[in-house]
Symmetry: C2
Subunit: 150 residues, 2 copies
DNA sequence: CTTCAATCGTTCGATATCAAATGGTTTGAC
DNA sequence: GTCAAACCATTTGATATCGAACGATTGAAG
């Protein structure tokens, strides 16, 4: 299992941990995906709606940062959400470089419909771990995710 | 940090763990990416070369399963690798439905060039955690990744 | 043998994703 | 005040990615 690479103990351990981390993230995503897709949304679209729902109207570069995507990508995702009437763009008056994105009533209804089941599905996924284990996992992931200067 | 969602303790914990897991995977990937890209490869292309390197020639559906991608996707990735002369396709004689993919000498040289540095980069990433923590993370991720029959 | 279901790779249409280039806008330095 | 640097969204061209439809091949059931 894990890796077939022959290396030092340290290397094998790091590779194994890396692979397990990626697999876990991919597997959980793959199992959560169908629910979101069943509402006709992609993961990115869902991410945008969810961010707007919980944080209020945001500029596109804020969404890009929040979702770890390029600004060009966000432009497209917003395009597709706007076409279907879930969000609305408005150019800022004070700083005309910015485009503020907000949920339409229709978009708000959609995310309100989806979100409770989404949370339930995540709770279900995480039920493979005890509360203690979940906290440990979160802590270790956080250490890994942090920007390391070097 | 984590989530802005107001829910039960269990829900907040699960959501927080989920977000941290996804962030960690994305962050590590994002930091590993530039190295691979500097060789003119995408992550998927690298994944294929690495699998062929360590496991030997494989059929496309085996690659798809290994990399958790659709068969249609693998077709395209192999197309692009083949165009550049890193892999070669050959139709199986016994079972003519199968297409076996193998590294060319050029492809082998490339992955041999890249891989050591890739391992070093992963070791560097994982150095944010102690050996003990890495093992714990791997174990918890493994529990999460496993298929759970409802 | 024949036929039918399963398997495998490809194609298609839609969306995602990035990096780089572009054009409009703002801000800071002078 | 002017101008250059920084910032923001969009566009473009390439690759990724999926699901679904498709055609070829195989295997199994009769």
């Amino acid at each position: 299992m894990g890796t077939h690479y022959k290396g030092t103990k340290e290397e094998v351990r790091a590779l194994n941990t890396y692979i397990k981390l990626m697999r876990a993230a991919e597997s959980v995503t793959a199992r959560l995906n169908p629910r979101i897709a069943s509402y006709g949304l992609t993961v990115s679209q869902f991410g945008v709606l969810e961010a707007l729902y919980h944080l209020g109207p945001l500029c596109q570069h804020e969404l890009a940062k929040k979702l770890l995507k390029s600004s060009g990508n966000i432009t497209l995702v917003i395009d597709n959400l706007e076409k279907r009437g879930f969000v609305r763009r408005r150019r800022e008056r004070v700083d005309r470089r910015l485009v503020r994105v907000r949920l339409t009533p229709r978009g708000r209804r959609l995310i309100q419909d989806i979100f409770p089941g989404h949370v339930a599905a995540i709770v279900q996924e995480m039920s493979a771990l005890t509360s203690r284990e979940q906290d440990t996992l979160a802590r270790l992931c956080r250490k890994l995710g942090l920007k390391q200067q070097k």
